[in-house]
């Protein structure tokens, strides 16, 4: 208690709160300490000031809690289904925040200045709004601020001179960089908590027992959890006993089955990609607008059907642990989605960019269609995956039982949807608005489907590790892929001549070059010019930075190795000490 006197008020409060004592004792300690402080220094003035600051902090905390979106629904889902299902909804909410931020800065910095300056879009006279535009995104929408083509390349003269080119370029660049930083930070902190500091053996009995979910309030759910826990404990006991019993021929058989299914799944992924490419190459005609929906339809159909096919492989393959099974499923789904996206981007960058005059708007429309059709298929998938499975499982084939909510598959669908939005930001700045609507509706749809159709998951545990993997997947390969597509477009491809903010330039990056040339005439901003010419454009700088980072990484790696050795030594010391002093 004596050491508490020396701390500042805020630290003291935190220290008292951290004591694991009953309320009476904590009150007593606090009273004793406040009494002592009376004699030390200016009691009244200090106490009032810090107390009002503290009260302000508390009210901010309470306000933040009330404003949080969907708090009540999250608590309900967590109480009935546990933390692994809840992690899907938390992930959805987190992605929604990205899109809200993107929409706000795009709308604020790019669209609003243009609307203020020139409120009426220049639509040719024979085009009017028909209902079909909501699905295809072409037609009337093509000439509005929805797509890249609707933005001008002039410097808007109003209250201030607003350079649209620089605004467009820097808004998108800054958003991507901030996204990347946010993803890296959350991935690193999640990795540290859930992989480095945690035990990767999650089917250990102790972990299962200690992770009993105290927030489950439903009687039936508790009974089910107890059953599941018992089954898991028995399995972990028998697994330990059985681990050495596989003979050589059985191992070879397992290896053959694994190899076969991996080849099959990779072949499926490549096949899907190739078929999309041929479909695109054969069918790109704008004569009938409804035809343009064919490719997104086929893409979404593949994304819906092939993962279910992959889940079937589980019947034949036997993985040594559930974790490996989930990892294999996730890797296969990622391969499928990456191959489809790679083929689409390749087609857009190489063929569409050469053929059409206002090609960025074309790509923007294609992405819009993909997003909309993906949304429709997500709704269909919810219907087939959950509602029909429930009907089949309860009425037609009672052996199957009520379905579980497949967290991995649903999270991968979310990641795919978000990647489409990230690729699309450059070509269609208002695409995040559609994405916000989509995620909003998806949240309520999934919640209703979950509560009506699904049962809580049978195997508990691994929620935190799966979350780390999902954030890591979101960053690499999906975000990095989207960033490289946008960077490639800005660097290598020539912007179209007739439309958009970058018309007439060789590539988009030359906007910065032009701006720097303008700045050279203003003597006050010579430092910006110096930074650009000597830091950003010089190769030696990047080389030196890379070298320094590699050296630092090597030093940290050696420190980690040393710490691992230290941990082993300390453990041995504890055992030795307890043997000597029983």
């Amino acid at each position: 208690v004596k050491e508490f006197v020396a701390l500042s008020t805020r630290d003291r409060i935190r220290a008292i709160r951290d004591l694991a004592m009953s309320f009476e004792e904590k009150k007593h300690i606090r009273w004793v300490l406040t009494d002592k402080q009376l004699n030390l220094y200016c009691y009244t003035c200090n106490k009032l000031h810090s107390q009002s600051l503290r009260r302000c902090g508390y009210s901010i905390r309470s306000a933040r809690q009330t404003l949080e979106l969907w708090q009540g629904i999250m608590k309900e889902i967590g109480g009935k289904f546990g933390t692994s299902v809840l992690s899907y909804f938390l992930f959805l909410k987190w992605l929604l925040m990205f899109n809200i931020f993107s929409f706000l800065i795009n709308f604020g910095f790019i669209t609003i200045p243009l609307l203020v300056y020139d409120p009426s879009p220049n639509i040719p006279p024979n085009v009017s709004f028909r209902g079909l535009e909501i699905l295809t995104g072409a037609g009337y929408f093509n000439y509005t601020v929805m797509y890249y083509g609707g933005y001008s390349n002039e410097t808007l003269i109003g209250l201030v001179d607003y350079n649209m080119q620089l605004a467009y370029f820097f808004t998108i660049a800054v958003y991507m960089v901030l996204c990347g930083i946010a993803l890296i930070f959350s991935m690193a902190s999640s990795f540290k908590e859930n992989y480095v500091l945690a035990d990767t053996v999650s089917n250990s009995a102790w972990q299962l027992l200690c992770s009993w979910d105290f927030s489950i309030t439903n009687e039936r759910a508790v009974r089910q959890r107890k059953n599941n826990l018992r089954v898991q404990l028995k399995e972990s006991l028998s697994e330990r006993a059985q681990r050495e019993l596989l003979t050589l021929s059985e191992k070879l058989k397992h290896f053959g089955v694994h190899l076969g299914s991996w080849l099959l799944s990779t072949g499926l992924a490549v096949g899907c990609g190739a078929s999309i490419y041929y479909l695109y190459a054969a069918n790109w005609s704008l004569l009938q607008e409804a035809e343009t929906l064919l490719v997104p339809f086929v893409v979404s159909l593949m994304n819906l059907v092939v993962p279910l096919f992959y889940s079937l492989f589980n019947k034949f393959e036997h993985y040594s642990s559930l974790g490996r099974q989930i990892y294999a499923l996730v890797v296969r789904n990622v391969l499928l989605k990456m191959s489809i996206l790679a083929v689409l981007c390749y087609y857009w960058m190489n063929v569409v960019a050469e053929k059409f005059s206002c090609w960025e708007s074309m790509v923007g429309q294609a992405l819009y269609r993909l997003v909309i059709v993906d949304f429709l298929f997500l709704m269909l998938g919810s219907f087939f995956g959950e509602f029909l499975s429930n009907v089949i499982g309860t009425r037609l084939l009672p052996r199957l039982g009520v379905p579980e909510f497949d967290v991995a598959r649903n999270v991968l669908e979310l990641i795919y949807a978000q990647t489409l939005a990230w690729i699309g930001i450059y070509f269609s700045p208002l695409l995040p608005a559609i994405q916000i609507l989509k995620f909003f509706i998806l949240f309520y749809l999934k919640k209703v489907s979950l509560t009506q159709n699904c049962q809580p998951p049978r195997r508990t545990g691994r929620a935190a590790q799966m979350q780390t993997i999902f954030i890591a997947l979101l960053f690499f390969p999906f975000f990095v892929g989207a960033l490289s597509i946008v960077a490639y477009t800005a660097w290598r491809l020539t912007p179209s001549e007739q439309c958009g903010p970058f018309r007439g330039l060789n590539n988009t990056f030359s906007v910065v070059g032009v701006w720097i040339d303008d700045l050279q005439e203003i003597p006050a901003s010579q430092w910006v010019v110096w930074i650009y010419q000597n830091v950003i454009r010089s190769e030696i700088f990047y080389f030196l930075i890379t070298l320094i980072i590699i050296v630092i990484i090597y030093i940290f790696w050696q420190v980690t190795q040393g710490r691992k050795q230290l941990i082993g030594q300390l453990r041995q010391q504890i055992v030795n000490v307890s043997v000597l002093h029983p």
Binding site: K27, S204, W206, Q207, V222, N227, L229, R230, K234
Partner: protein, 189 residues
């Protein structure tokens, strides 16, 4: 101090905010739910103690397998009968809240799992723990052989000083390596 008056005073509220991990809304909600448990006469008395049976009618605790142990651990009564005052109730919610630290949670988890209150988790405690979580009836229990094997596995994994029991530091060490613990050791009203 009149903690069961129908309104909580501002000073009292700020004192509770300082000494627990709960926010103002959570404290007020806890007060509301606690006063619902009291009879009409008890509402005017200060510092009423509510018996364990009435506390266990709360829906958050009703189906919890550890409900009785939770009441015993957080109760400050001399008879050790598991009855709670409002301040004990706040202590309970604070330890199970979102913002409680890992040390507090693991400390109280240890005390809840320690069925015989002797400060360590020995084989008897572990056996009662497993039975609590797998079921009460004879069909749902593990066999004696399985139980022995399970307890051996647990001790092999967590007993660092090899004395046959798990003490508080070993328990906290295992808990710190389990990333799901913090999110599962939670009760929210």
């Amino acid at each position: 101090m009149g903690t069961t008056a129908s309104q909580l005073g501002k000073d009292l509220l700020s004192e509770y905010q300082e000494l627990t991990f709960l926010t103002k809304q959570e404290i007020l909600l806890a007060h509301k739910r606690f006063t619902e448990l009291l009879t009409k006469d008890e509402k005017d008395l200060p510092n009423t103690r509510v018996s364990m049976e009435r506390v266990l009618t709360l829906p958050e605790l009703k189906s919890n397998p550890f409900r009785k142990r939770i009441c015993y651990v957080f109760s400050t009564s001399e008879q050790k009968d598991g009855s709670l005052t409002f301040e004990d109730f706040l202590d309970l919610l604070s330890a199970f809240s979102d913002s409680a630290t890992l040390e507090i949670k693991s400390h109280y988890a240890f005390r809840i799992f320690d069925f015989d209150d002797d400060g360590t988790l020995d084989c008897g405690d572990l056996e009662k723990l497993v039975n609590c979580l797998t079921g009460e009836t004879d069909e749902t229990r593990l066999t004696t052989e399985e139980m022995r094997q399970l307890i051996n596995n647990i001790l092999e994994e967590s007993d660092i000083d090899k004395d046959g029991t798990v003490n508080l530091s070993e328990f906290q060490h295992v808990i710190s390596r389990s990333p799901d613990f913090v999110s599962s050791f939670k009760i929210v009203l």
